[in-house]
Each structure stands twice: as C-alpha cells, then as structure tokens.
C-alpha cells in the first residue's frame, strides 16, 4: 500500500541505510547515489513513516499546544505565534482544545502524551501538580501560557493582568469617569480575576468607590449585550465600563449604541486583549493589548529549550481608540 524505505532501497539498488542517509544526512551520500535514491522515492511516492521514526528516535518532532478555545481570537493568535516559532525550529504542532473542561483537558493530555510530543504548551484548566510532575518525569517539558497554577513547578509565560486592569481603570478615571461598572464572566478564571483586582486596586488607591460588578456566564458578545441590558434596566447608567475582554466589550458597545446611548460621550467602554475586531467595532474600542503572538513564541522557546522554573511576565499596553477617549 504505502512504500517503505526498503522498497525504495531495492528500486535504487542500495541498502536501507543509504536511503535513510539520503533522508537525514544527504551531504554524506555521493551525488550520483543521492539522485538515484531521490528518483526512486519520487517514482514510488514514498512518504516517511513518522511512527517508525518516532519509535526509533524515542520522541517525535511535534509539540502539543493545548488551549482553552480556538473560537476565541485571543487563543488563535497565541497559537499562531507558537506555530510560527515551531515551524522555524523544524517542529510541527498538535493542537488541542480543552473547551474549559478539566475532563477534556485530561483526555487531550493523554492523547498528546501517547503521541510522544517533545513538549507541551498549555492554558491550564484543572491540571494538577501530580500530572505535570509525571509529564516532566517522562521528559516532556510543560510551559503554561496565559495563566499559572499555584504550586505547580513549570515554566510560564503570562501577561501582568493586574497591571492591565490598572491601566484600564486609570485611563477611565483620567477621563473623569468615576461611576464605573465591571463586566466579567462567571466562573472567573485567574486572568479575569487579576484584571478586576488590578482595576479595583487602582480605584481604591485613588480614593474611589469599587465599581459595580456584573457577571455573565460567558466571554462572548452575546454575554456583553445581556450585561448592557441589565445595566440599562437599572435605570441609571455608569459613565464608564470596564470589560473582562474585547468580545464582551463589543457586545456591550453594540447594545448601548442600539439603545441610543452615546459611546464614549455618555458611557466610555474599555475592553481587554486588542483582538482584530476591536479596531473595527462600531465604536473602535479602547482596550488593553496583550502581546499574544509573543506569548506563543516565548512559550515555544521555553519548551524547546526545556528550561527550568522560568516565569516570564509580559507587559500589557493601553491602546486608546474612540470608545474611551
């Protein structure tokens, strides 16, 4: 069915070792032989059997990337950053999504471990220290991205979300907005909690009252719309809204605009992430940019270098557009 290295060897009139050399160390093979072997490979449509190669070499040339949700552009960008860096290093990526479920996360880890990945990049959901220890014991370096898990000994690349929340809050107060609301998702993952904590800290340090917090069950535009509806129903609107991410912020802005509320004149809105959509929203979104591709790239480098106990924290950056200016 599928030609093996042995048949290529027979067709080219050489030994299997030579074919392998052509594949892996072409410079050690005489020009004439190499040409003959390559011709045989082409004629037979030979494709290397990666399973056999991985078995022999002890580990593959793939890295596992396990993110929470590929429908969220934030993760897609992290993933792309990782992929670019990996391809440059001659590796390929095995993608998995946990969909936020510890159960599915476990299944994905099983899969990736069985596949013999030589490293793992994860946005952890329910991952425990024991599992990570086993992975490391099996020679698979683990790098956390976007968030860490307390007490687990693995590298991580994160963004300083506390600083990000602070940036957002300080921007709104600098604009003279003091009656604020914070829209987040429930249950709150650590990054979301940190953003809110950063904002809160900035406000209390400035002697302001804590913002009203509204939680919706998802991080989607639909959730944002519902949150804005709830605010509208209260009768009295805040003059500034901090959102846990851009998708929610887009929903909030859409609902406000629809209700005839002027953004930013009546209510200023700040998002988080700076996804591509943010700039082309009805009212271009002021937001806190995360260096997403860098997250992916650096995580990859740590994983490939099999680094120990390094924790990289990247700085977020405020991007001012019209929705809060």
């Amino acid at each position: 069915m599928r030609a093996s290295i042995r048949e290529v060897a027979r067709r080219a009139g050489v030994s299997v070792g030579t074919v392998s050399n052509v594949l892996n160390r072409p410079e050690q093979v005489a020009e004439a032989t190499r040409v003959r072997v390559l011709a045989a490979i082409d004629e037979l449509g030979f494709v290397r059997n990666e399973a056999a190669r991985a078995l022999r070499k002890g580990s593959g040339r793939t890295l596992g990337v396990l993110v929470e949700d590929l429908a969220n552009p934030y993760f897609t960008d992290v993933a792309r950053g990782a992929e670019a860096a990996l391809n440059a290093g001659g590796f390929d990526v095995l993608w998995c999504t946990s969909d936020g479920s510890p159960e599915k996360e476990r299944r994905c880890l099983d899969f990736l471990e069985e596949q013999g990945v030589s490293g793992l990049i994860v946005t952890p959901v329910g991952l425990d220290a024991r599992r990570v220890a086993r992975l490391r014991a099996h020679g698979i370096p683990v790098v956390f991205v976007d968030r860490r898990i307390a007490g687990v000994n693995a590298c991580s690349v994160t963004v300083d979300h506390v600083a990000g929340g602070r940036l957002a809050a300080e921007h709104l107060t600098a604009l003279g907005r003091h009656d604020l609301a914070f829209v987040t998702a429930e249950p709150e993952t650590p990054p979301l909690r940190q953003r809110r904590a950063g904002a809160l800290r900035a406000l209390t340090q400035a002697g302001r009252t804590a913002p009203l917090t509204i939680a919706e069950p998802a991080l989607s535009p639909a959730a944002g719309r519902r949150a804005a509806q709830r605010l509208l129903d209260f009768g009295t609107l805040p003059d500034g809204i901090l959102c846990a991410n851009d998708l929610i912020a887009i929903g909030v802005v859409n609902e406000l605009v629809r209700a005839g509320v002027k953004v930013p004149q009546d209510v200023a809105v700040v998002g988080y992430d700076d996804i591509e959509l943010a700039a082309s929203a009805v009212v271009p979104l002021t937001t806190v940019r995360q260096p997403r591709r860098d997250l992916g790239r650096i995580a990859t480098e740590l994983a490939l270098a099999d680094a120990e106990g390094r924790h990289i924290v990247l700085a977020p950056e405020l991007v001012v557009r019209e929705s809060a200016s």
Copy 2:
C-alpha cells in the same frame, strides 16, 4: 524515562502479551491478573507509546483536518462538528491550517501523511488531482469540505452557495430594494464566486440590473469597513448590500451606522454564514446560515466510511434579523 509495556509486565509478573491484552481486550484476561496489571500501570505511570502501536497496526487512530483559517469562526465550527463526530468514533484529530497558501497546504499534507492519519478532511487551496490520487493510493480517504476541486475524484460535502446567494438576493428584492451592491473578497474562492453568481442570477431573472461589485483583499470586518467607506465616498448609496460573509457584513454595518446611515431603513445588509457574532452585531444581521457543524460531521462520517465518489450538498437557510427586514 518512560515506562514500557515490558516493565509493566515484569512488575505485574506477567508477559508482555498479557499486558497488551489488558489494554486492548480486557475481557479476555482473568479478573485477578487484570487488576494486578492495572495496578502496575498506575504505579509506573505507564502511557502507551502510540508510535509503536501505529507502526505495528499500520495506521493510527487519528484523522487529519486541514482548514484554511482557524481564526474564521466559520471554520472553527466546521472543525468542532468534525471533532465531536470523531471522538465519538474513538478517533482523535490532527488540526492544520493552510492559511490559504498552497505551499503551506502541501507542507501540512506531508505532515499528516507522515503521521499516518487514516483519513483527511480538507478545504482545498491548491491541491491537485495527482496528490489526492497518491493519498488514496496510500489508503487515505480524502473528503473535501466547503468546496470541491474540479476533476479531482474525492468525496465532498458542500453547501449550495448558488442557492444561498439567490436566497439573499431574493430577500432584498422582496423588501423592495433594487439598487444593490455586492461586497466580496479578491481573489475570490469558489464559494464566494458561487454566492455572487447565485445572487446575480436571481436578479437578472427578476429583470433587475446587476449589482455594483466591490472587492476587498480580505474577508474581515476591517475589509467591510473599507468597502462601506468606498460606497459612502461614491456619494450615492445603494439601498441594499449583499456581503460575501458575515465578518465583512459586520464591518459594513459598523461603518454605515457610524456614518449615521440607518440600517435597515436607508440600507439593508445581508451577510452569509450566520456565525455567532451575527446575532449580536449592532444591528443583528440578516444572513444565510450554513449548517457548519453538519458539514464537519458528515465529512467525518464519509472519511471514516472510506466512501467513494459521494458528493453531499447541504441546503443553506435564510435567517431574517433586523439588518434586512
């Protein structure tokens, strides 16, 4: 480093064959033995080496899914439909993205073939008949999804985009909109061309003039905004706009709303895909829904069944919301 089946066998005091039986045919192993083996597996943290298994069995338990762009929610949903169906069948998915580049598509196919996938689901970009023939000769069934390639003998699952374009156009004319524009991307992939052709045919059949066509280099909200700007610059707006997909439509609507144009009163806008964002746009989007998860699911079933020459065409459905009503 990583325990093998042999060490498990030694620890449990049985032969490797028995361990393999516990793993693959547990009912054929006596209760007491099985318990002992499972305990050994647990103590050693044994994980099956999929490379060895795949090598011996001749092919893995994975399917390759190669889509154009995971950042487009359309593909994410197709992908999810496929994953759900695959997991149900005991398979796992290897994701790849071609980013619309034939070169990257080739690399991904090489990768997937080396990995020994037992089937392939592809939104083809530059795939030629020869390559597909080779894949089939290697025992890998290929299923095209979203679009087909002329003259290539492979199963396909597509949506009737001509009918979809027609639905959109007829809806606008039924609303009394006769001065239309069509916003698309350049270069136009077959599905886009078909949508436009369907719309055009519906209009000419109704004795209407062809719509003005505007092409932008991408299928993004940013592109939609630019297209709308160009329309605004013309001075005289159409009263209906057909968009090649929802992402573009969202950009168009956003820009129009920003410019003070009333949607749908002044200009009605119709999208295509019915992605999640469509329903929570500033003006909820009237659009043509594609059964995306069904696309993924059916493609999976065809691939697993190793079907021959079947071409499934699914029907699109008009979803009327506020942007054109």
